[in-house]
Symmetry: C2
Subunit: 322 residues, 2 copies
């Protein structure tokens, strides 16, 4: 797949609507939950779109299904490949199984067993490589050269972005009068899909992306107008330890998205509040939005705020002890 093919156009609301029709039978229409005690905590009306209840436990099922279902038969029959040890790997494996095609996941040799097992459960093959980006890309290219498999990247892809946008589309169908829409930003697939939808169907709403303060490359990219390299610092929000993608960056610039940050302490505090008050399991990447509101409640005081809860793949056996 040529890089130019992925970047041939910025996805539009029509791409998202088509994606919604295409993937409807393969994904959950996830619930939107509210909590009076959470509203009191922040001083706003919060509407949580629960993608932690999505297939594979994260919004990533949407983009992967859209990309896989869009493939021509001749392309699809050679299979799909990606490099990831996160939710996109599971999502692509899930989508490929639905379509009945081969799926190969390139993973670093140090990826946790729990992540490998999750992918294997969906019937995908795993090819291990050295834990460097160079080795990942090299290994993936070898698979493409050998098998003709089609690469589906995690976020720098118009089909994937259009799929991720369907979460915001559902949210705004159910609650059309929101003042603010928030989503976390790592590679930017979810936030850019969300921004496309919001600008089209709820044009006056503010769009706010949230990222960890220690991994604020999206904020610095938007401030400088130049896409910044990925952060080298660690954050507990492991799903957001990634560089902002080229195509998502272009969308965010077009749609006047604001980026805010959350401290590590507030990300964890937000996660506790979501588990205590909403009674849902979320991963740390999903509490970065609430973390940013805990750091600065004035951002949304008195407003009606939709928050996309990106996923629930928390390693509870490691972190929850009795």
């Amino acid at each position: 797949m040529a890089q130019s093919a992925m970047l041939s156009h910025l996805p539009t609301i029509n791409d998202v609507r088509d994606a919604a029709d295409r993937i409807r039978s393969f994904i959950h229409r996830t619930p939107i939950i509210t909590s009076q005690s959470m509203n009191e905590l922040i001083g706003a009306h919060l509407f949580f779109k629960c993608e932690n209840f999505q297939k594979v436990g994260a919004f990533k099922a949407r983009g992967a299904c859209n990309a896989v279902m869009m493939l021509d038969e001749a392309v699809a029959e050679r299979g799909v490949v990606t490099h990831s040890s996160g939710n996109h790997a599971q999502a692509l494996a899930y989508a490929a199984r639905l379509r009945g095609i081969q799926c190969t996941i390139v993973m670093p040799s140090n990826a946790p067993k729990v992540k490998r097992d999750a992918v294997l459960e969906y019937g995908a093959s795993i090819v291990l490589c050295e834990p460097t980006l160079q080795s990942r890309l090299h290994t993936m290219q070898q698979i493409i050269d050998t098998t003709g498999a089609h690469a589906i990247p995690p976020y720098d892809d118009a089909r994937v972005i259009a799929g991720q946008g369907t979460a915001a589309l559902e949210l705004l169908e159910d609650f059309p009068d929101l003042d603010v829409i928030m989503a976390p930003v790592g590679g930017g697939g979810l936030l850019s899909g969300t921004a496309i939808v919001t600008r089209a169907v709820c044009p006056n709403a503010a769009i706010i992306g949230a990222e960890p303060e220690v991994a604020d490359d999206a904020k610095r990219s938007m401030d400088t107008g130049i896409r910044q390299p990925p952060p080298t610092t660690m954050t507990i929000a492991d799903g957001l330890r990634t560089a902002l993608g080229e195509l998502p960056f272009a969308v965010l610039q077009h749609t006047q998205v604001r980026i805010v940050t959350a401290t590590e302490k507030s990300i964890i505090d937000g996660l506790y509040h979501m588990m205590e008050r909403l009674k849902i399991v979320v991963e740390p990447s999903a509490s970065v939005t609430l973390g940013a509101l805990l750091d600065d409640p004035q951002l949304v005081r008195g407003k009606r705020v939709g928050i996309i809860v990106c996923g629930g793949n928390l390693d509870v056996r490691t972190h929850l002890k009795f």
Copy 2:
């Protein structure tokens, strides 16, 4: 309140239907969730009625609301009282605030601050006592003698049992063709309410109560036909560390309920599975049912099984560490 007044009759399905009408505007109709991976784990079709999403985070809101809303005005205006450091305390405080009446909770002086704060947030008063049952009862009687407050016990009360039964009523309205209904059993309020409803509207379904193996007084009570004293051993399922009530026991005997047990290991394993696969936060008392199925999946193999998830008040800040 005379003991005899509480035991004047076994609650019926009509009492539960009346309770459902009475409390409808004060409680959530909680969602029922399913999970393919959970079904595969047990080899059955499982329908989880999520009372962890209920007001105050547990089914207890149902019984407390029913009891409080049934009070005559002259009784209500003198307030209500109970002794509890658990979910019933919060539930009674919640119900009393809704009705605009005084609520006093007698708590042992060693009750955790988090439990005290939860009750205070609902506007109830707390009177601390020595951490013995004798001191609790003595302190509660003093309050009744002084203020004329009306005691609402946590489970040994026909009004409370009728309220708890409304969860099963909702479950069977949404899924009328279940083969098995399961609920945990501690004092027996939830299980007896569930049994009354199931026998009336789904008479052929099996009713199974689950309790910790180390606190199996309900099982021994049913086996011997004589209500057994509460267990002295500790179980992680802190909501079930209580004696089976007299009135619940009579109901369970009338309705041919079967009691099964779960090991401590399976209760914890069940809790992990519910958090990993359902992405919901539950307290250990709520995973005793799944724990029993992990110990003996043959119990429900191939069946359609409704499981009442009693609550989600897990102390995540103590147990979840990063």
